[in-house]
């Protein structure tokens, strides 16, 4: 039936947004004001931002964080997506097990996980920064799993697969060129989520003594506070932009809609 077009002004919503906006943006804008101060002239400028991006370490650490997050996304795409598709198709007994396992990281505080990780892995794992994407993958697993689960539940997976198979596609092609495109909404959401979480991870990274973009800020803060604030502002804005851009590609219906 024809839906009511609500263009009406909504006082409760407006008040809610006002209060939330105040709480969210006041600290953000305050810090932003600090970050554009130029103490020498007493005015405002992009001095600290320019200082930060021309700093050699800036590029080094941001690239490192990016590629670590990229690897995490690859693990998600090449391990989690095919496995979950298979689980949904096969009714395998391990599905219950994996369902439960995927939620388990939610139970473990990251600090405790870091302690466990520090005392468990053999040298060759501890010595490579590549251990981080796998650990990030574990941290993101509960969210990634749920978001893919919603996507896979929303399509007639069995019919689609049988159609693709009978049209002559092998399993790999079925997954890569049929299933993933069909659930691209939730795959994109999963990628966004995994990428953002990996990019911003601090606790585990710092406790395992690795340096990435989020931990680098701490060092900068020791001798250039305003520069560190500028970097902090960027570290807030970057994931925000990434998430916004990616969610723009997500078709609306994958975000649970109301009738």
């Amino acid at each position: 039936m024809a839906k009511a077009l609500r263009i009406k002004f909504q006082p409760p919503l407006a008040i809610t947004l006002l209060i939330l906006g105040f709480f969210v943006f006041l600290p953000m804008l305050s810090a932003f004001e600090y970050s554009i101060r130029t103490p020498l002239t007493g005015g405002y400028g992009w001095t600290h931002y320019i200082w930060a991006v021309t700093e050699e370490d800036f590029l080094h650490y941001i690239l490192r964080s990016m590629w670590l997050a990229g690897v995490t996304v690859l693990i998600t795409l090449f391990v989690l997506v095919p496995t979950m598709t298979w689980l949904h198709l096969s009714n395998s007994k391990v599905r219950g097990l994996i369902d439960g396992l995927s939620l388990l990281p939610l139970v473990i505080p990251v600090v405790a996980f870091a302690v466990g990780a520090q005392i468990s892995f053999p040298e060759f794992v501890q010595n490579t920064v590549l251990e981080l994407p796998f650990l990030y993958f574990v941290l993101a697993l509960p969210y990634a799993y749920r978001s893919l689960d919603i996507g896979l539940n929303s399509i007639p997976l069995k019919t689609i697969t049988e159609a693709a198979r009978s049209a002559g596609a092998n399993w790999l092609r079925t997954i890569t060129s049929v299933i993933i495109p069909v659930i691209r909404g939730s795959v994109m959401a999963t990628i966004a989520l995994t990428f953002a979480l990996s990019l911003g991870e601090y606790t585990l990274t710092v406790l395992l003594h690795w340096d990435t973009f989020p931990t680098w800020v701490t060092y900068v803060a020791q001798d250039n506070i305003l520069g560190a604030i500028a970097i902090s502002m960027m570290s807030l804005i970057i994931p925000f932009l990434i998430l916004t851009v990616i969610t723009l590609f997500v078709p609306e219906r994958t975000i649970q809609g109301r009738k």
């Binding site: 609500r6 909504q10 409760p12 919503l13 809610t16 709480f23 969210v24 006041l26 600290p27 305050s30 810090a31 693990i75 391990v79 989690l80 095919p82 496995t83 689980l87 096969s90 009714n91 395998s92 391990v94 994996i98 396992l101 995927s102 939620l103 939610l106 139970v107 473990i108 505080p109 990251v110 600090v111 405790a112 996980f113 870091a114 302690v115 466990g116 005392i119 468990s120 892995f121 251990e131 796998f134 650990l135 993958f137 989520l193 979480l197 911003g200 601090y202 606790t203 406790l207 800020v217 701490t218 902090s232 570290s235 807030l236 994931p239 925000f240 998430l243 969610t247 975000i255 809609g257």
Partner: protein, 299 residues
Amino acid sequence: MTSQVIEGGAPSRGRAFLTSFMKNILPAAPLLLIVGFFFLFPITRLIYVSFLSNDNTFTIDNFKTAIQEPYRTGFINSIKIGVFSAAIAAFPGALAAYFIETRGSSKLRRTIAVMSGVLANTGGVPLAFMFYAALGIQGYLTKALKYLGWDLYSGTFSLGSFVGLLIVYLYFQLPLMVIVFSPAIVSLRREWSEAARNLGASQFNYWIRIGIPLLFPSFIASFLLLFASGFSAYATANALTVGNLPLTPLQIGGLLDGNVSAAQLNLGKALGVVMIVISACAVIPYLAIQRRSAKWQKR
């Protein structure tokens, strides 16, 4: 399901097992290996080592120390900040989620979803800076409040104190509440409120008999998740406190860094295990409630 034809005899049974294994488990092997090695193994080892003394014999001494001072205060503070930050954030967050989900346009809801996602993950040094700028001694809000006659810093207040930390934690707890509670709001069907009105229920009666009972489990579940989040937050506390507020995550971090030394080498592991137990007490009921209410939501 695979029903294998068993041709009799031991060797073929072995082969049947092998094909069944290959069909039922092998495709999940990469995921199971990653989760097993990078997650289950460290957690198991953590639990195991927490029961070892300095000379690797079994002991529960680590746990005995873990529940004594100063670690006892650490746990109490951590639980307190988890409970308070969750309690303060839960109701306003739920209300905000309600207004946003029921009154907001689809564009607004999507924008808020993205923003909440980012904000719920803020923490550490960036978050500390933001609050120094707003509520620090020279902060804008501090100055504004002083102008209005309320000197925040006349007493013992600081951002690194319990109350200060609590305010800062709300910055990620509120968006987290919006994220976790929104699905419950969305699952409230319009038909229910319409049916209730049709059957003679006023708005008030609808909320008392239907709306609140339906949302309550999700509300409690969200509260529990917020507790776990506040209880185990590390980065922000680490950035704001200077050793003046004992919190378990910081104590573990100190032991792990070697900044703090303890007579018992494996004390940090025992603290970690106790944290897991406390966190599990909140998260497992959360998961159970989520699963139960999914029954109403799924059609």
